[in-house]
């Protein structure tokens, strides 16, 4: 089985909200102090899912990204966490926010690799919060698609998987023939830490740089403004000697202001 895990780096999603600001002229997000670029959280779960399938059934796992060289630490993290090889495709010129160009570039790169049985992605990358790429990739490849996936088991026939996907009010158990694109959610596993040895090995591994970027489409929706949204509120702290007193005082305020 050949599993391709599509990964990307994002600015640390746990960076304190106060460090975030917007450069409105450039329509770019900024962080001060800088938010560390990290492998996207859900992608870590996708890598772990691939590593588990590899352990259970044997598989080759390729980590793939469409990004500049600044994304290589993320690929190395994927290598340390169980991927066998890493491929980076330089992003298409002028892609901007065109996710479809990214999906086409990923698909083009996947077609140059040994046939992929399973393509795993994270369900969404924190930041622009779009989550388009996995679904688009499935369409471009012509593969069926499942998301958000919270469990995945390979069947003995090696040609199909059984998975769970979340629904609005619960989940479904689904049978799918391979190949398939699955976008995983965090419930699927607890990513293990890479060991120091695997971290060192990953640092020494070679990352394949492929071209295959597919030009962006001029008709993509264009970003015309980015502005900050201040959600912060002036918090009125309830006073009181003990926690119980403060609970009672809160009740009085809620009652008085007609919250109940």
């Amino acid at each position: 089985m050949h599993i391709v895990v599509c990964v990307c780096q994002v600015p640390d999603p746990q960076a304190p909200a106060g460090s975030f600001y917007v450069d409105e002229a450039a329509m770019e997000p900024r962080w001060s102090p800088a938010a560390q670029p990290l492998l996207s959280t859900f992608d870590l779960h996708a890598v772990e899912a691939a590593a588990c399938l590899k352990e259970a059934h044997g598989a080759t796992v390729t980590a793939l990204t469409v990004a500049g060289p600044e994304a290589e630490p993320g690929l190395r993290r994927a290598l340390a966490a169980g991927c066998d090889q890493a491929v980076r495709v330089a992003p298409p010129a002028g892609a901007g926010h065109d996710r479809l160009a990214i999906a086409h570039s990923l698909a083009a790169a996947i077609r140059t690799l040994p046939p992929a049985d399973l393509v795993l992605c994270g369900r969404i990358a924190a930041g622009w919060d779009m989550g388009h790429v996995p679904a688009m990739l499935a369409e471009v490849l012509g593969f069926p698609y499942a998301s958000p996936v919270t469990a995945i088991e390979a069947r003995d026939d090696g040609a199909s998987v059984e998975l769970r996907r979340l629904t609005v009010d619960g989940y479904e158990v689904v049978h799918a023939d391979l190949p398939l694109v699955a976008a995983v959610s965090n419930e699927i596993n607890e990513p293990r830490y890479p060991t120091m040895r695997s971290v060192l090995d990953a640092q020494r591994a070679t990352i394949t740089v492929a071209d295959g970027a597919v030009a962006a489409d001029a008709t993509a929706a264009r970003l015309t403004a980015l502005r900050p949204r201040d959600l912060s509120a002036e918090c009125e702290l309830i006073d009181g000697e003990t926690a119980e007193d403060r609970g009672m005082a809160l009740a009085a305020v809620m009652h008085e202001r007609g919250f109940v």
Partner: protein, 331 residues
């Protein structure tokens, strides 16, 4: 074969029949866009020939399948939406930003090579016909405007509470537009089992008051005592939780609130033992009043809350609940 639907209209893919409010909001936004653009609104209904379609009230016409479409299968919906675009050539295609919309909109965009803007809180069309949709990003810390010039098709998904004030005006169900879509091909994924807890619990999105539990609540049992059978019950409130709470099994996954969960905008949101991570706040920032109970005065939640209590919820909640009972015994 083209039916009676003229091109360049605003098309709406109705939300799940379980959520008529979402469909009504979609139709209201569609009407607003169509009025500016000087066109009409039609809705895709998923029931087969002869099935009632009360959710489509407010549209000028409907299109339907020859036989009923399985709304729980995103691939069928994708197929239908694709057919609608090919045959009726709408200018704008609106979906609800629910589980189906999240998946189908970008897939359709890829299939058509069309622009897509998802999770929008608003959309409008200017005199030149350029559609602009507004979506939150960076965990709701920023808003972004995205535009698609005429005459290109724009695929847009709308967040449920996007335009809470709007409501459909037309009274009678719209006529059939005469466009009947061929049935969807057999789905490639086979659903073996469905698990959904009994719906008894108050619908989160519709609730006036929501009590949200975080990792700090500690255990499912404490949650049951202090919140489910305690404060939330007393207030007649719905409850949900943060991912921290879901991870610990305090609340089930389907009640997760946030960027990758549900989005609520109640009148009062009571956050108990949750730190207020941006990805959580993305799901509740529409609340009119946020009340936080947390032991840590430095918790980020106090930066979003209007009222805050620093303290252990195990002490705060019982006294809060009993005092509320005393002040408003009718409850």
């Amino acid at each position: 074969m083209t039916g009676a639907i003229p091109p360049c209209q605003v098309a709406v893919v109705l939300a799940s029949p379980a959520d008529p409010v979402a469909s009504a909001q979609l139709l209201a936004t569609a009407r607003r866009l169509a009025t500016v653009a000087g066109t009409g609104v039609f809705a895709l209904v998923t029931g087969g020939e002869g099935a009632p379609h009360p959710d489509a009230t407010g549209a000028d016409a409907i299109v339907r399948f020859a036989t009923a479409c399985d709304v729980t299968d995103p691939e069928s919906l994708l197929h239908a939406a694709h057919e609608v675009v090919l045959r009726a050539r709408p200018r704008v295609l609106l979906f609800a930003h629910d589980a189906a919309g999240r998946e189908v909109a970008p897939r359709l965009a890829a299939r058509l090579g069309a622009p897509v803007i998802t999770d929008c809180v608003d959309a409008h069309i200017d005199a030149a016909g350029t559609l602009t949709a507004i979506r939150p990003c960076f965990s709701a810390k920023a808003l972004s405007d995205w535009s698609v010039p005429a005459p290109h098709l724009a695929i847009v998904t709308l967040r449920r509470d996007a335009s809470p004030g709007e409501a459909a005006s037309a009274a009678s169900p719209p006529p059939d537009g005469g466009l009947v879509l061929p049935s969807a091909p057999a789905p490639r994924l086979r659903v073996i089992e469905r698990h959904a807890p009994p719906p008894g619990e108050l619908q989160l999105e519709a609730a006036e008051i929501v009590v949200a539990a975080g990792r700090g609540v500690g255990s499912r049992q404490d949650f049951q005592t202090a919140i489910a059978n305690g404060l939330a019950k007393d207030l007649g409130a719905a409850f949900g939780g943060s991912r921290g709470a879901v991870d610990l099994g305090i609340v089930p996954q389907e009640l997760q609130i946030g960027l990758t969960g549900r989005v609520v905008s109640p009148r009062v949101y009571i956050a108990v033992g949750l730190s207020g991570a941006p990805q959580h706040m993305a799901g509740c920032s529409g609340a009119r009043t946020i009340i936080a109970v947390n032991t840590d005065p430095r918790a980020p939640i106090f930066g979003y809350a209007h009222l805050g209590v620093v303290g252990d919820y195990r002490a705060v909640l019982p006294s809060l609940a009993s005092e509320l009972r005393r002040l408003a015994p009718a409850r």
